[in-house]
């Protein structure tokens, strides 16, 4: 198992390197000019002289290879350069905003898990009866609802009309409820359906049939025979939902004025703030890879067959 983790971590190095080159090339060969963007933001007319001065102060007048190597040399020492817009260290800013996004995504994940589990189980156990129809309808609507629309709808209802919840910003637990629900609805609906399908599949398996034959109590069958086995695909899906939430957080952060890293990255894209974009993409790659690694480990723990295979190879 340790070897497996180590191998995965080592594979991360060429991956990050490849991504950094790719991102660098895409940014610099695209139709983007940070100097022009800087002047636009500063309300300075883009005369040739002003552009030249801006390029010089942003270090964009050097050859591309020099720019990349310079950036890489610093990046391995965790110095991701200065933002073109603020002139402050990029990593510092991203790490400042990151916890807010993780908090939001974490809270959403909790909502997803705690709501989808009972809903999925009930709809599987009461298949084709009213609880199943209800969750099916809910899942249908939930998956089809775009988050920006749902967000505004919630704000309109709970903040403007009822005055129960604050419309925006970060603060106590009341502040996180609406953004987290908005962010989690789609994953929650997908997850509910997945749990239902996976449970139904297990219910028809032979192990369950034999367990019944052995006269094991129905509660135990559902708990340890069906549910545990049904969880394996769900764990994979949750790993992907984390990625979805970190990505989806961008929209939700803008709607709810949530001071997260996604919103910061979007403003960086708009401002052509290359150092921020590079660091953000690498940071997200790292988070994704670690999430997947976590899922794989959990997988091995849940499914002994995987563990034995790995063990056999080693």
């Amino acid at each position: 198992m340790l070897l497996f983790i180590l191998k995965r971590l080592l594979a991360l190095i060429p991956l990050l390197l490849a991504i950094s080159v790719l991102v660098f090339l895409i940014l610099h060969f695209g139709n983007n000019d940070p100097a022009m963007a800087y002047l636009r933001l500063s309300h300075i007319p883009p005369t040739d002289l002003a552009l030249e001065a801006a390029r010089e102060s942003l270090g964009l007048n050097r050859p591309l290879s020099v720019q990349y190597l310079d950036w890489l040399g610093k990046a391995v020492r965790l110095d991701f350069g200065m933002s073109y817009v603020t002139g402050k260290p990029v990593l510092e800013r991203l790490l400042y905003y990151l916890p807010n996004t993780l908090y939001l995504a974490g809270f959403s994940l909790m909502i997803t898990i705690f709501l989808s589990l009972p809903l999925g189980i009930i709809s599987a156990l009461r298949k084709d009866r009213w609880p199943d129809h209800l969750t099916r309808a809910m899942a249908f609507v939930g998956v089809s609802t775009p988050s920006f629309w749902l967000g505004f709808l919630l704000v309109f209802f709970f903040s403007v009309k009822l005055g129960w919840l604050p419309a925006l910003g970060k603060g106590g637990i009341t502040h996180v409820l609406m953004p987290a629900f908005t962010l989690s609805l789609m994953s929650m609906c997908i997850n509910t359906r997945l749990i239902r399908a996976s449970m139904l599949e297990q219910m028809n398996s032979r192990s369950v049939l034999y367990a019944r034959v052995r006269g094991i109590h129905e509660k135990r069958i559902v708990g340890s025979h069906i549910l545990k086995n049904a969880m394996i695909p769900v764990v994979t899906a949750i790993g992907m939902h984390i990625g979805e939430m970190l990505g989806g957080a961008v929209v939700v952060e803008i709607i709810f004025a949530w001071p997260g890293v996604g919103r910061y990255a979007v403003s960086a894209i708009y401002n052509r703030d290359f150092p921020v974009m590079q660091c953000f993409i690498l940071m997200m790659t790292l988070i994704f890879v670690f999430c997947n690694l976590g899922v794989d480990i959990l997988y091995a723990w849940l499914d002994p067959r995987i563990r034995y295979r790995e063990g056999g190879k080693a």
Binding site: R40, L41, T47, T86, A167, P259
Partner: protein
């Protein structure tokens, strides 16, 4: 016994609360909540983005100010004298002015700030004033002399801008004296001080109790970070934001909704800048004066103002609003008249042989109309223009691009019509006209096909260095009339700012320029 203990405690509590109540009531500061799309930045008075102009104007002041009627009014300088040759400006500073940290504002502070700005002159080349300043001399504690290399009439206008000619406390300058390196703290003489900044959340301003002028009635201004228009509108509706003020704060239909809501007060400012398109006199069919004039007559501006801007903007007939300095010229407007437009095109040889569009010498009457792709308003206006032009037989290709590409197109002159608004007060008309001489501007490219382009540029130069106001009036008349008659601009509307607030806020008015919000005169119940 138990009852007695309870009643004693209750009595003690009541006394304590009643003792502290007045303190508690007094201690709640009067706070006005405003919102902006990002944080206001480190508030370096001499630098640009990410410093936000409205916030720089709250903390820092200038020697002179741009008044609402376009006149320059005394501010940190009580008076000034200009030498006969227009090269020396002697400023008499206001006495008894202190920076918010207690440092006195005097001639030396002015000199140190000017020197800091000039040390970074490369970043300020866009501003005419910067390369005209030879030196700043301290005459005595409250007198300072600005020596120029050549006369420059808009000097006082340039001095009134939100940046870079504003004054930071010398105690906050870094050791190098160059504010471009960094500043120690944002300390100015203005009515507000920056008390706290939380990234991505808010910036908090407090009243400057050392302020020399009338002190603000509000204790604190809280500026929340809200990037989205709809979120801002929702936050306003829930009372989490008190004031909506500015150019691009909420969508126009939201403004329309608030306008009809009796709980709110709304207002629209006088014209600030001009929403216009530049028409290229050097490329394609728009090289012909007749085509440019026909475009002018073909566009129904009234319908655009009513249908798209919901009457929040004002129909524009000339490049600058007539109330701007030197711009009241009584130029005859090109009225909306598709018949006349078609007649002009017919006379110029553009015929409708088959199909809806005209041709001449087997060439189609087709123009490229360029706009910022993600700007919904520009896109809608462009679509209406396309329909209006089709009406008279001109085919318009709509080209929507992102802002950077559009800037490149402007620089290269690669357009027939392109959105190119004026900069508004206090830049109009002098700074805007000055920029017409610079090839990277759409204006230069649009005018470059005119036979009298050299003459126009020469006259702009003469105007800026002229010390005789009568002569300037005459020169501006010649320049602006020529541009109007040559139809190289298609003015659509004069842009405005809007404001919305609830009934508890009073005395809200518009600032004379786009970059200042007069928080200091507002009051709150």
């Amino acid at each position: 016994m138990k009852n007695r203990i309870i009643s004693t405690i209750a009595a003690l509590l009541t006394i304590t609360i009643s003792l502290f109540l007045p303190v508690i009531v007094q201690a709640v500061p009067k706070t006005l909540v405003y919102s902006w799309s990002g944080n206001v930045g480190p508030l370096n008075p001499h630098l640009y983005s990410p410093n936000q102009m409205f916030a720089q104007s709250m903390v820092y002041e200038s020697l002179v100010r741009y008044g609402s009627d376009g006149q320059v009014i005394p501010w940190l300088a009580e008076s000034w004298e200009v030498s006969a040759d227009g090269c020396d400006y002697l400023f008499h500073l206001r006495k008894g002015v202190f920076f918010s940290d207690g440092t006195p504002f005097d001639a030396l502070a002015v000199k140190k700030n000017h020197d800091a700005v000039l040390a970074n002159a490369k970043r300020h080349t866009w501003l005419g004033l910067i390369d005209k300043i030879k030196e700043t001399k301290v005459i005595d504690t409250y007198t300072v002399k600005l020596v120029l290399t050549e006369p420059y009439y808009p000097l006082l206008y340039d001095m009134s801008l939100a940046r870079p000619m504003r004054y930071l406390s010398p105690s906050a300058l870094p050791k190098s004296g160059n504010s471009a390196d960094d500043i120690k703290a944002p300390i100015g003489t203005g009515p507000w001080t920056l008390a706290e900044s939380r990234l991505g959340e808010y910036d908090l301003f407090k009243r400057n109790d050392r302020y020399w002028g009338k002190k603000p009635a509000i204790d604190r201004i809280l500026v929340k970070v809200i990037p989205d228009h709809n979120t801002r509108a929702m936050a306003f509706a829930t009372g989490e934001v008190d004031l909506i003020y500015g150019e691009d704060q909420i969508s126009l239909d939201t403004f329309d909704r608030f306008k009809n809501d009796p709980r709110y007060t709304t207002a629209i400012s006088p014209p600030m800048a001009t929403r216009a398109l530049a028409i290229n006199s050097k490329r394609g069919p728009t090289r012909e004066l007749a085509v440019r004039q026909a475009i002018q007559h073909a566009v129904n501006k009234e319908a655009i103002v009513k249908g798209i801007f919901l009457n929040t903007e004002i129909k524009a007939d000339t490049l600058f609003w007539p109330n701007k300095p030197y711009c009241d010229l009584d130029l005859p407007p090109y009225e909306y008249n598709p018949g006349k437009s078609e007649q002009i095109l017919e006379q110029a040889g553009w015929q409708k042989t088959h199909g809806p569009f005209r041709t001449k010498d087997k060439k189609n009457l087709t123009v490229d109309l360029c706009f910022t792709g993600n700007n919904a308003l520009e896109k809608t206006v462009a679509e209406v223009l396309q329909a209006d032009l089709k009406n008279v037989g001109i085919q318009a290709n709509l080209i929507g691009e992102e802002a950077d590409s559009l800037s490149r197109r402007q620089k290269g002159g690669n357009f027939n019509l392109i959105f190119n608004g004026t900069w508004g007060s206090p830049y109009d008309p002098h700074a805007y006209c000055s920029s017409m001489r610079v090839p990277s501007h759409a204006d230069y490219q649009a005018q470059s096909g005119l036979s009298m382009k050299e003459e126009i540029d020469r006259k702009i130069g003469l105007t800026l260095s002229s010390t005789d106001q009568e002569k300037r009036h005459l020169l501006y008349r010649e320049i602006l009339s020529t541009l109007h008659n040559q139809a190289v601009y298609l003015p659509i509307s004069y842009t405005t700012e809007i404001l919305v607030h609830g009934k508890k806020i009073h005395n809200v008015s518009f600032g004379p320029t786009l970059h200042e919000i007069p928080f200091a005169t507002m009051s709150i119940q």
